[in-house]
Symmetry: C2
Subunit: 324 residues, 2 copies
């Protein structure tokens, strides 16, 4: 075979699995990871602008016969340019010969599914109260949107509070949420209102080395669960210390980021997501616990999902075939 297939953002979206199938796939990824049967070196990257980066994220999952890399960019300034802040490509390779099999747009996988399913669906299932009703979203971009969708599918949410430093973005988010889902949604102009009184809190702003630390101690309620999609950027150190169980998806990567100057003075890690998925450690154990999952993003998720989408593309004959 001397060709490889290219899949655009729309084609990837059309080939993507439904949420239950996606969650099953990601649970398999975390079981493989927990068993030590995966390879995933800590990300490396380049930084062409302040607070912007491109990250190389290779991963290999023998059991899924999936090998490849995500090369993903995060450029916060793009927001003001009408361009996506997060973009990228995934390259999938034949694990027996190394040859590239597919190149596909990474933004859909990154934004809509991987983060949503792993940060929210998987972590929240183990860490949030099943009766969670009020959701606060801080950062109303694509990630905020995907988390809203995933959490609505899992919890009896009746109220959404949307905060964004860009008031228009918050307003649009709330309006769209009300229109698309049977849920009460409103923009809040004070970030505290998207935290205090909420059962679920998602922070999904830009990732900063120096946290803006908007969320202060005393804001997060007893019994609440917070999902951190933007590292610890939103959280004051003292607010983090109020958390009973601080979890992450990859301990090794967290340590690596610490050596780069991120995650200064964060609480000790209670469990990796893989520990919760395999039952090696219990998730929430009482309705009063404050729990938190910090989502670094695993190349394993991206590459496993890309493998699934590639096989679907072959079967459904979707994509552009390119000569090597």
């Amino acid at each position: 075979m001397s060709e490889l297939v290219y899949l655009s953002r729309d084609q990837v979206a059309a080939l993507s699995p439904e949420i239950p199938q996606l969650i099953a796939l990601l649970e398999q990824v975390f079981r493989e990871k927990a068993a030590g049967r995966t390879e995933m070196p800590p990300k490396i990257g380049i930084h062409p602008e302040k607070d912007a980066f491109l990250h190389a994220m290779p991963a290999f999952l023998p059991a899924l016969r999936a090998a490849g890399l995500k090369w993903v960019s995060a450029f916060p300034e793009n927001r003001g340019r009408g361009l996506p802040t997060i973009a990228g490509l995934i390259v999938l390779n034949d694990p027996e010969t190394g040859l590239p099999l597919a190149v596909m747009d990474a933004s859909w996988i990154t934004a809509k599914r991987t983060a949503a399913a792993s940060a929210s669906a998987l972590a929240a299932r183990h860490l949030a109260r099943p009766d969670s009703r009020i959701l606060g979203i801080l950062g109303c971009g694509v990630q905020g949107q995907s988390h809203l969708e995933a959490l609505l599918a899992l919890f009896p949410i009746r109220e959404v509070r949307a905060y964004d430093t860009d008031e228009e973005a918050g307003e649009r988010f709330a309006t769209e949420a009300e229109a698309r889902f049977r849920v009460l949604a409103a923009r809040v102009n004070d970030p505290r209102k998207a935290v205090s009184g909420c059962d679920l809190v998602v922070t999904a702003g830009p990732i900063l080395r120096e946290p803006h630390a908007t969320i202060r101690p005393g804001w997060l309620e007893a019994g609440a669960f917070a999902s951190l999609v933007d590292f610890d950027s939103y959280w004051d150190r003292a607010a983090l210390r109020e958390v009973d169980k601080w979890c992450t998806d990859d301990l090794k990567q967290l340590e690596h980021y610490k050596t780069l100057g991120y995650f200064r003075d964060v609480p000790p890690v209670y469990a990796e997501l893989a520990d919760l998925v395999t039952g090696r450690k219990p998730g929430r154990e009482s309705p009063e616990e404050r729990t938190m999952a910090c989502h670094l993003g695993l190349a394993l998720e991206d590459v496993a999902l890309a493998g699934h989408i590639y096989r679907e593309a072959l079967e459904k004959k979707i994509g552009t075939w390119l000569p090597r």
Copy 2:
């Protein structure tokens, strides 16, 4: 702009600069590197098979407005399968927005030009005797071929000795060399004959963590220059210690490889290639010195060259345009 361009191996080859222009470009790369104006983290990778790897190689050169990554595979077993041992893709990104601009085949750049120009042309120009006449090549694959071409363009070579563990490959290499160039070329069945009596030696076999150490002490002549394309795989430790000036293209990467178990007990580094190019350190200083350059491969070279080829592609309207 909502599209990116794909360039196949043949298209990349058709767009590539001639050797003098390529060398000028690479000299600029090394000057930028020497001045500390580049970003290139040590490679990371995955290892789906024994002695096989896929490496992620990001680089950013502000002065050349080039940002991107090479994702390259080396699968030694492919040789027996009639597939290229080295393959891959380069993704080029807009340094202002992070968005992907181009995806192109990396094998041509890796095999024919980057390695040839940087390992041989640039290093040999500073480290080999200008009157070098006899060239020994150990490992007669694509890299051996590209080094032959580059060295023929620089030195008055009249004899080529080709060694390969696969006799047929050695034979074919010698036959083709005689047919294509005005040069005497012969396969040798003893590796020593491709080292002893030679002015230039290129080792271009598979890269192994445990060197096969075929080349023994006493083989490399006084006054010879050796270019190591396959790490230190071919060299006995005592043979390495006979070298007067041991150079590499990137000290940081060499140190990184050492932490991974490669390059055990190699000589201290005399100079980085950038030091030679900028004149910060002298190259060869006498006709008797034994000199050596160990070529790790720099993402900077790949990404700078990819930037050049991308601009040529736009100008000449070559490539397949793909929707993002």
